[in-house]
Symmetry: C2
Subunit: 475 residues, 2 copies
């Protein structure tokens, strides 16, 4: 063969290859744009069905109607049975309870914090014991107050701490756009305040509520004790109360606080995760899990935390069913028990023998409130995240602005060890800590349409992954 002919052959081969690649790539493009169009139609139907009917809000009304759902409480037990019934009524399959043992802490019937000052007179402060706190003596406790701005100031003032009330007056930083990161820093004083105060011989830890709201609602939440450190009681006061106490201490450094808390740590209680499925018609053993946690703190019915997450997960399955969409893989709703008091429900779910023949390919928890959803966090590798990006036009059509690395949640975290990709719905966070763990976390703080948009996003995500798998290698 002459060189010329050889060159020609190569060019012809090149051309053929170019045509093949072009056709394949344009077919791929067509097929992608067809898929996008298909899912965009589904997104539109989910949107209309959801916003017209608002099923999430109806479910949230029911969940919050049982009152607070502190682990071990009658309200938590009621919520277990209620959500089981909701799943049955929705026609979910495989509806069942899975047991988990939960701590049982009970707030006292009255909680008192009284400022006593010969200069300023007496003034009651709104207060709430921190979850897990020991009680004060039955007759209460009266002591002077040392205000500190952080743990290092506590260390500097440790010589005078013995027998005193340490007042951690640490503002949650308002200048941070992402309130969750500001919360994390401020909540450290609620979590570790008692231990750090006790190490210096103090009698009580009093903590400014971690919130950017300026109001008179104390916020509760978890705290920790450490072996070998005295378990002194701890409580939060409202931001307005903290400002008042701080001003008062400047006018009368000798003022005393009388405090009385009769909370109790009781023996653990048997409770349950509640589970229901939309079984996959092709790969029923592959599971997309949507979860929220049934339990709440006890100062309100936990409408945002995490009634909203439960309503999101349940209603997402409801919407998929209402549209007669049969998923290829199983889409499961799990109402976890005891996120707030140690996360036992999530741990027990992950290690249950019922998981033996199941493969969870994606677990998404909604536990950031029922506010306007902005994005979706997915804790996957880059190829999977890139693969997710191709669905962005669909998510943008329902006003989800981004899919980024992130997401996850306390209850689903144990599944990561089994190779499950974790995700989370990310709503706007500006209003969340106004209500979080306080008496303000009530149904009227949730907007029906904002809540529903979260459900719509989750139903779309779950349905696409049920059809397409997760990542470029699946289908």
């Amino acid at each position: 063969m002459s060189i010329r002919k050889h060159a020609l052959k190569i060019r012809c081969l090149g051309l053929a290859l170019f045509i093949i690649v072009s056709v394949a790539s344009s077919q791929q493009k067509n097929s992608l744009s067809d898929q996008i169009e298909k899912y965009q139609n589904i997104a539109q139907r989910l949107l209309e069905q959801g916003l017209r009917e608002l099923p999430s809000y109806s479910i949230l009304e029911k969940i919050t109607s049982v009152g607070h759902r502190l682990p071990g409480s009658p309200g938590a037990a009621a919520a277990v049975e209620l959500t089981r019934q909701i799943m049955m009524e929705m026609g979910l399959k495989n509806v069942h309870l899975e047991p988990t043992t939960v701590p049982h802490w009970v707030r006292g019937p009255e909680e008192e914090a009284l400022m006593i000052s010969s200069v300023l007179g007496d003034h009651a402060l709104s207060t709430a014991a921190i979850g897990g706190s020991a009680a004060t003596h039955e007759d209460g406790l009266s002591a002077q107050v040392i205000e500190v701005k952080d743990f290092s100031e506590l260390e500097r003032l440790k010589e005078s701490a013995a027998g005193k009330i340490i007042f951690f007056n640490v503002k949650m930083e308002p200048g941070t756009l992402n309130t969750f990161s500001a919360y994390g820093k401020a909540a450290a004083y609620r979590v570790r305040g008692a231990v750090e105060a006790a190490k210096r011989g103090a009698a009580f830890a009093l903590v400014r509520s971690p919130t950017t709201a300026n109001d008179d609602f104390p916020h509760t939440g978890m705290m920790s004790y450490e072996p070998g450190i005295p378990k002194i009681p701890a409580a939060c006061i409202s931001t307005q109360g903290a400002d008042l106490l701080s001003r008062s201490l400047k006018l009368d450094p000798d003022l005393r606080l009388f405090i009385r808390f009769h909370c109790q740590n009781l023996p653990p209680v048997r409770s349950y995760n509640v589970i229901g499925d939309l079984p996959g018609y092709e790969k029923p053993e592959e599971i997309i899990l949507l979860g929220g946690h049934l339990d709440s703190w006890d100062l309100s019915p936990g409408a945002h935390d995490d009634g909203a997450g439960c309503a999101h997960a349940l209603s997402a399955l409801y919407l998929i069913k209402a549209l007669d969409l049969r998923p290829k893989r199983t889409i499961r709703a799990v109402m976890f028990m005891n996120e707030e008091f140690g996360g036992s429900g999530g741990c027990d779910y992950a290690v249950s023998e019922k998981r033996a023949d199941e493969k969870h390919i994606l677990a998404v928890e909604s536990d950031r409130g029922g506010f306007l959803p902005l994005g979706i966090g997915i804790n996957a590798d880059d190829p999977t995240l890139n693969w997710m990006q191709k669905w962005m036009p669909i998510f943008q059509s329902i006003q989800i602005h981004w899919i980024r690395k992130g997401g996850g949640g306390v209850d689903i975290a144990p599944l990561a060890e089994q190779g499950t990709v974790l995700g989370g719905l990310i709503p706007d966070s500006q209003r969340y800590f106004d209500v979080h763990h306080s008496g303000r976390d009530t149904l009227d703080a949730v907007h029906p349409r904002e809540l529903e948009l979260g459900t719509i996003a989750l139903s779309l995500l779950a349905y696409i992954v049920s059809e397409e798998g997760l990542g470029p290698q699946m289908k």
Copy 2:
């Protein structure tokens, strides 16, 4: 020169050109990334200053404290003087009023709509006259009710319309994600209901409030009359009232409504736009206008509509000043008067002789409430919009998700004829029509942080355009 040398020369020239272009492009890139870093630092400072201090909410508190600000009302006059004083206190320059003449419509002291049924008994409906409506006879009016679902149904039923009350029971479509487009369709019955009913000889137009909220608040707003068509009165009832009336009509089609409205159309009143500047140090005659409208409807203090927009514009200038940023071009706040009742303030502003030596390069109105901002609409050509996109990383750092074609507003629209690019802040719309033009548009419906994020976005936009001009050809 040999061919070889020639080829070499061309290659060398090519290489040189390549190097020049590469260096220039990398310099351009460096300069762009430097600029982005510079503005990102400013964005961060605006964010911290704004979210820590919340100046927008303080200003909104003052504006709403005067009560409603219907054009021609004492509240509107108070707001003019109040915002003039706020501008003076802020140290703005060129603070002045520009006159505009506004209609003066006054709601009657009592408004009545009473369902009278021999079958169901009597029931009062919450109601509000539509702005500009004529009064009923002093003693009111009693008539049967014809419910219609749209204008075509009215046309079909026209034979029986004479002397009746036409009840436009048209739901604002909840399945639409963008509530503004759903509102536009539903509000057509409020705007044109009286004219269309009067054409068929009806005595009154009763309109379901255009809102997705399910509550007992009637919403008001503008309506139109047409020459040659009898000016029959018109009012809105709440969504719950509309549902009740509709159910009642099914049970007793002969029920009558007694209605009485004593509203008055009085002679026009002199009022004012309020204007204040941060003068540009280099091109003071080139203006970036940030605007809101001072007037409101009369059922509430118009916290979202448009107290929020006024607070946005004023506080954006405040933040820029607080950071000691001197703008290259003038940044101006304009509090327009009478957006709600005909837009005379915007028209008079645009044609004032004071505009003779001014060039408005960008005018941005915030008139969609103080909710979480999502994006910025700019009604510019494609090259300018593409140029705007390069600043997106900065806007994303303050949680602005997009800059798209769109925006504008009633008050700034007349400036478009002078070649001014129009823009608008686009907050989320899910909650807006719950409160819009109703008794619910009060200060507590505005979240201080959501409001402030709008201000921060506007201050950043105004400052960047003051420095960089608008579009690739400016600087």
